[in-house]
């Protein structure tokens, strides 16, 4: 653990609780995750997971279950490892040089990191929406049809049209773009682009959707639409969302996980986390004392 980050966190706490720095460090490093990280009938489960970038450890022994048709929000100060953790769930960290993941991560009981697991198939089952909208420089139609074409989901043109229309409807973008499906996706507004990326992700019918701060580049109105969309998508998909906005976490999620310096500090029902946090670090963060 880098000492500077620990010190900063320590200082902030000392100002409130008058404890020594070493106590806080021990507290984070040896403390069990408080709340209810595990659950019955989980869609994905993560056990004892460490992540390293080269020699630097970014995630320390995380245990967490992600429930089916639920939205789980991951919050925490910058650099706490929440995005890193999210990218482990569909092995996007494989593309990062020197990144190592250990522990047991499963999707419906099968090990994500086993040699038998086909990364391509895995990523088709676990879709991802990124922080910055990243539509391909292709038409709106081709953006959405990209995944289905890749995985051969449609054998006829008509089927593909149907998939595209359904995906755009689910992403509540259809009405805005139905007359210009063949104009470039990069010509849309930021919020529309992000909804296009969501449509692109759901076009391959994933089971889980990972969202890495999907609204951080959007204005409040576009953000509100994405949040509505997340609430609708929950009926069919399991969603894990990383966010910097605690209000957003409170609005869209059923469970909330608080990360601090690579440790999973607290997991609980969202309402509980925001009304009566069990861990003092969580409380300090959600009451705005740092982060």
């Amino acid at each position: 653990m880098t000492s500077i980050a620990t010190e900063q966190a320590g200082e902030m706490l000392i100002s409130k609780t008058e404890r020594t720095e070493s106590q806080v460090v021990r507290d984070i490093e040896h403390g069990e995750t408080v709340g209810e990280p595990l659950m019955e009938d989980a869609k994905m489960s993560v056990r004892n997971t460490d992540v390293f970038y080269g020699d630097k450890q970014a995630i320390f022994g995380v245990d967490l279950d992600i429930g089916k048709n639920q939205v789980i929000a991951m919050i925490g100060p910058s650099g706490c490892g929440k995005s890193t953790f999210l990218r482990c769930l569909n092995r996007m960290n494989d593309t990062v040089e020197g990144c190592r993941v250990s522990g047991e991560l499963t999707l419906d009981g099968s090990d994500i990191y086993s040699k038998k697991m086909d990364v391509v198939a895995l990523r088709a089952r676990i879709g991802m929406v990124f922080q910055k909208p990243n539509p391909f420089p292709k038409s709106i139609y081709d953006n959405v049809a990209y995944g289905p074409r890749l995985h051969g989901l449609a054998s006829r043109r008509g089927e593909l049209d149907e998939i595209v229309e359904n995906s755009l409807r689910r992403a509540s973008l259809w009405d805005e773009v139905k007359d210009r499906l063949h104009s470039p996706g990069t010509g849309l507004s930021g919020g529309q682009q992000q909804r296009l990326c969501i449509a692109r992700a759901i076009a391959v019918s994933p089971e889980v959707i990972l969202m890495d701060e999907p609204c951080s580049a959007l204005d409040p109105i576009a953000t509100a639409r994405i949040e509505e969309l997340i609430a609708e998508l929950r009926e069919n998909y399991t969603i894990a969302i990383v966010t910097h906005s605690m209000q957003q976490a409170a609005r869209v999620s059923q469970r909330t996980a608080y990360f601090h310096l690579g440790h999973l500090v607290e997991v609980n029902d969202t309402e509980k986390v925001f009304t009566s946090p069990e861990h003092e670090l969580t409380e300090a963060y959600i009451t705005g004392r740092f982060g």
């Binding site: 088709a124 990124f130 910055k132 391909f136 420089p137 890749l150 391959v204």
Partner: protein, 464 residues
């Protein structure tokens, strides 16, 4: 004083002027309480003084160099006696040459040429005087300019702004030199081309659409020679054939190595392989030329013979193939740059949808980088069309109009070289044809470059 020495002295004076101007600004600043009470930093006062010292004298020097010779020769010529005054321009040049030679001592004046040796003496005398006057004028102008600049130094003088203006004008002048040179070259080629088309043997349509190229014509009235025909089509066909072969080699190899380097190679391999690949671009084309002529061409010929093919010893294939190798770094380096410039978020987006690396490259990265890649390829094509040395050595001289890569062909650049090598008359269509070919080549490559630049510009609009 010699002009070179004069410039050295002038430089020394400029240095002194700089330090004097700077010193004066310090001295003026002291009673005011430091240099922050000056309008500009002392450097600018020094530079301002130095500019006053050197710019006017340099302008004088340039003007002098322009008008010195014509005035002196005019004076010398008008001093000649009526009897030997030249009548035509050619006579005048001849006479001047002779006086010049006598003056420099290369020739002795004949016994009956008193007037000429007097003129030669006069020339020498005038030149010497002119040089002294020049030295005196330049040095005094430099001193006066420096003093003026020095006197102007005051806390209120906006030296910074003035130096900036001079700096900007210098940059502008440099830009103008490049542009004017290009214009000059174009115009000289255009005028020679106009002269070429003014001959009876050639017509513009015959040149552009003619299919027979044999520029050998009788250069003396009594010489038995071919009448010559100037149809440029076989040359352009040859050029295009060789360029096409070169691109067939260079584009796939260059692109694939670029994709490997940009997408697959780990950073260590990339940092060694890329410079190594770019060394290919550093090999002189003449080396490629003898590689093509002495190694590749005989090899292809033997290979062809063993398969029962008739391969000429100087084949388009050999020249084009080697040219392609030469162009690989062009394509790969430019393609590598544009592929690396495709944002990582595009890759993430595609990989996140379950695409493999090669699918991502094929369907997202390549299309996104395509305009840039096309730009790079077009630049490489211009390079291939303009390439001379390899084809001179390996492609041959026979102006065959053929699409068979095993045949010998010739290119525009090869013909320009052969037309202009050796002693040539500059009023025969044979020689002037080189300029017409050059102009046409220039237009073709210019169009290609414009196309390439437009594509690159389009690419720039694609992201942010």
């Amino acid at each position: 004083m010699q002009t070179a020495n004069l410039i050295i002295v002038l430089l020394a004076m400029v240095g002194i002027a700089y330090y004097m101007g700077r010193g004066r600004s310090f001295a003026l600043a002291k009673p005011l309480g430091g240099i922050r009470h000056l309008n500009s930093l002392p450097f600018y006062y020094g530079a301002q003084t130095a500019i006053w010292c050197c710019v006017p004298s340099l302008i004088l020097l340039a003007l002098w160099a322009l008008f010195d010779e014509p005035i002196i020769t005019n004076v010398v010529l008008s001093g000649l006696p009526e009897a030997i005054q030249p009548q035509t321009v050619a006579d005048q040049n001849l006479l001047l040459n002779r006086i010049e030679n006598i003056a420099s001592g290369a020739l002795a004046a004949g016994a009956d040429e008193q007037a000429l040796s007097a003129a030669a003496d006069r020339l020498n005398g005038l030149r010497e005087t002119a040089q002294w006057v020049l030295t005196a004028a330049i040095l005094s102008l430099a001193v006066l300019g420096g003093l003026w600049g020095w006197r102007r130094v005051s806390p209120k003088l906006k030296a910074r702004n003035q130096v900036e203006v001079v700096f900007k004008s210098t940059l502008l002048a440099c830009a103008c030199i490049a542009i004017l040179t290009t214009l000059g070259i174009v115009f000289s080629v255009v005028f020679e081309t106009i002269r070429f088309f003014s001959f009876d043997e050639v017509t513009i349509t015959g040149f552009i659409f003619g299919t027979e190229w044999s520029p050998q014509i009788a250069i003396r009235a009594d010489q038995a020679g071919a009448s010559g025909s100037f149809g440029a089509v076989p040359l352009f066909v040859g050029t295009l054939l060789i360029s096409f072969i070169a691109m067939v080699v260079a584009v796939p190899v260059g692109l694939m190595s670029a994709i490997y380097l940009a997408e697959y190679a780990n950073p260590r391999v990339r940092s060694t392989a890329k410079p190594l690949l770019e060394i290919l671009a550093g090999i002189p084309t003449v080396v490629y030329g003898f590689f093509a002529a002495l190694t590749v061409a005989p090899f292809l010929r033997e290979l062809g013979e063993s398969m029962g093919l008739d391969v000429s010893s100087e084949s388009a294939l050999a020249a084009g193939g080697v040219m392609g190798i030469m162009i690989i770094p062009f394509v790969s380096s430019l393609a590598d740059d544009v592929i690396t410039a495709v944002p990582q978020s595009m890759r993430d987006g595609s990989l996140g949808l379950g695409a493999t690396k090669s699918e991502t490259i094929k369907k997202v990265i390549f299309p996104a980088a395509l305009p840039g890649i096309v730009g790079g390829v077009m630049l490489a094509v211009s390079r291939a069309i303009g390439e001379t040395m390899i084809v001179v050595m390996a492609a041959g001289l026979a102006a065959n109009m053929t699409a068979n890569p095993l045949d010998t062909v010739t290119t525009v650049t090869v013909q320009i070289v052969t037309l202009l090598i050796g002693d040539q008359e500059f009023d025969s269509p044979k020689t002037l044809a080189a300029f017409a070919l050059g102009l046409m080549l220039f237009v073709v490559t210019l169009l290609l470059n414009l196309f390439a630049l437009r594509t690159v510009k389009k690419y720039r609009e694609q992201y942010d």
